[in-house]
């Protein structure tokens, strides 16, 4: 899908449809000799109108609407919304709810990370056209990866109540909690997964990968007690620290002409990097024993700013999720299955959780009767987008000797390090929004 326009110093690298990125995207790069004259990561996924869609709805409908923004990480959307609303309403969910939510969220990490590692990233590193070709040559590897992914999906389906977007998570708790025996039935599979993920780590360490070093500010949640999923302050590798409800004081988003998605930067700083590599770097000492073992096996040396180490970070986080899931499942007791009573209060609800791809921010304005007056959703990919373009600008000059096909493959890999979920990152200006049905 690469076109060399002419045998002149002018080269045009066009990757019209990025393969193996979650959603539709296009990358345009124009070069004049060694100079980049144009570089745009374009988004043309049909825009999502979810923020407008939420206005006028009742708060109790929010957990059913927001997971539909993304089929890969519905739980992240539910949890950022639910936790923000519960804090505004000062609701204490029943005992056991935080643990069950964490288990559900970690299952989503397992599913999302194993999809990326095996079907999206590995074919790149091994030089296969697609996961289908990889599966033909490395059947056992792909089967192991898919069985890990399926474990995440099956746990999500049990706790979430069905296959498609989870329905049990509510403001106030869960509408149904799994029986102890239903959850314990997963123990043998998780024990197998704990073995398997170390095999995945050994395999991932053996894959050839490019490396790339550049200064970048890493950002994630951190609470200092447990590996960050749903709690903590926002921290960065440059020593920044702020409470999650001050997110909009520290992050600015701007519309750029070539994209439906907004570009984000830190106030008084530049672009920043979210996701597994940032979380692992900023919270390494909070990793459990299985994840530490995986960290050694996958040969991820911390701290690192190399974005090509992201795949290894996903393996480490999958080990963390499996280790924690086993512990959570073994101590699970089925508490009061009824969610806490919801008494709406007017005000502003905000929360951030760590979606598989990084911090996901939600803000809602709520009326006294529980009607949503305003909604703002800032997904991790839209925060990473400007950073991805900056990576490309820095990466390209050292690789201009490559043939166009190879250069375009390398560029796709730079983008894929972020596992961008472009379908979630798309926004429209209010102006455009009003013209559409």
């Amino acid at each position: 899908m690469t076109h060399r326009t002419a045998q002149t110093p002018n080269r045009l690298i066009d990757v019209p449809s990025l393969a193996r990125v979650e959603g539709d995207g296009a990358l345009h790069i124009a070069l004049d000799g060694d100079r980049i004259t144009d570089l745009r990561l374009e988004i043309y996924e049909p825009p999502r109108f979810f923020e407008a869609f939420l206005v006028g709805r009742h708060v109790e409908e929010v957990p059913d609407i927001v997971p539909r923004i993304c089929g890969i990480c519905p739980v992240a959307y539910q949890m950022s919304a639910i936790l923000g609303l519960e804090r505004l309403f000062e609701i204490d969910p029943p005992a056991g709810t935080p643990e069950l939510r964490r288990l559900l969220y970690l299952a989503e990490w397992i599913e999302s990370h194993m999809l990326h590692v095996h079907l999206l990233a590995a074919p790149d590193l091994l030089g296969y056209e697609s996961a289908i070709e990889l599966a033909r040559h490395e059947r056992a590897i792909v089967e192991r990866g898919l069985s890990l992914k399926r474990l995440g999906n099956d746990l999500m389906a049990l706790i979430g109540g069905r296959e498609i977007h989870p329905v049990t998570p509510r403001v106030g708790g869960f509408s149904r909690t799994p029986l102890v025996r239903e959850l314990r039935a997963f123990e043998p599979r998780l024990e197998q997964a704990a073995d398997d993920i170390l095999g995945v780590a050994d395999w991932a360490a053996s894959l050839p990968r490019p490396s790339f070093s550049r200064p970048v500010e890493l950002v994630s949640l951190r609470d200092g007690r447990e590996y960050p999923v749903m709690h903590g302050d926002v921290v960065s590798s440059e020593g920044r620290r702020f409470a999650m409800d001050h997110f909009e004081d520290h992050v600015e988003e701007e519309q750029v002409p070539h994209s439906n998605a907004l570009h984000a930067h830190l106030v008084g700083g530049g672009t920043y990097f979210l996701g597994p590599l940032s979380r692992v770097n900023l919270n390494a000492e909070l990793l459990g024993p299985l994840a530490r073992e995986a960290l050694g096996r996958v040969r991820l040396q911390l701290p690192t700013l190399d974005p090509f180490a992201s795949m290894a970070a996903r393996v480490v986080e999958t080990a963390q999720a499996i280790g924690e899931a086993l512990a959570l499942l073994r101590t699970y007791e089925r508490g009061d299955p009824a969610p806490a009573h919801v008494e709406p209060r007017p005000g502003r609800a905000t929360w951030i959780t760590e979606a598989p791809r990084g911090m996901l921010y939600h803000r809602y304005g709520v009326a006294a009767d529980g009607t949503i007056l305003a909604a703002r959703i800032v997904p991790p990919t839209s925060q990473n987008l400007a950073r991805i373009e900056e990576d490309l600008r820095r990466f390209l000059p050292d690789h201009l000797d490559e043939e166009d096909a190879e250069l375009s493959r390398l560029c796709e890999m730079v983008v894929r390090n972020y596992d961008p979920c472009i379908s979630c990152a798309t926004h429209f200006l209010t102006l455009d929004l009003q013209r559409s049905p």
Binding site: L115, A131, E133, A135, R150, E163
Partner: protein, 153 residues
């Protein structure tokens, strides 16, 4: 010999306009398919986990192939996967239905697979457009018909 076991897998996003077509058609077909498992999925990749344990599968989904919106598209998936013109079926998740079935095929033997779909127009958040809305009863009828055909062996 027992009758072949058939499962219906419906893919789509219920909130993204015509992308809901597969889910809606399968829902409409469900009442006429007693005893048949009808499963609604989000991303097509999950189909991979649900091809096992049955003799035949009917996959119902939205399609973007450049045809007139509302056109019903139905075919049996052969050993070489999807017909070429439908290889890039609609998915906002990188790994679409043709790729998923291709992947399953390279990992092991597949059940018989039939596809019933509809060409999409609008994909913005909200209900399906009128062309797809009008096609839903016919799409559901084709799902029922296809299940019966596959159940006969």
């Amino acid at each position: 010999m027992a009758a072949p076991r058939v499962r219906v897998l419906a893919c789509g996003n219920p909130e993204a306009g015509d992308d809901a077509a597969g889910l809606l058609a399968a829902r409409a077909a469900r009442s006429e398919l007693p005893g048949v498992e009808v499963i609604e999925l989000g991303p097509a990749l999950r189909v991979l986990d649900l091809l096992e344990g049955v003799d035949a599968v009917v996959v119902v989904d939205a399609v973007r192939s450049g045809d007139v919106p509302g056109t019903i598209i139905a075919f049996d998936v052969g050993s070489d996967g999807f017909p070429a013109r439908y290889r890039s079926a609609l998915s906002s998740h990188g790994f679409g239905l043709p790729e998923t079935i291709g992947l399953a095929g390279s990992l092991g033997p597949l059940p018989r697979i039939a596809f019933v779909g509809v060409e999409v127009g609008t994909l913005v958040a909200g209900p399906p457009g009128p062309e797809v809305e009008r096609a839903l009863p016919e799409m559901a009828r084709r799902v029922v018909q296809t299940v019966h055909r596959l159940a006969e062996g």
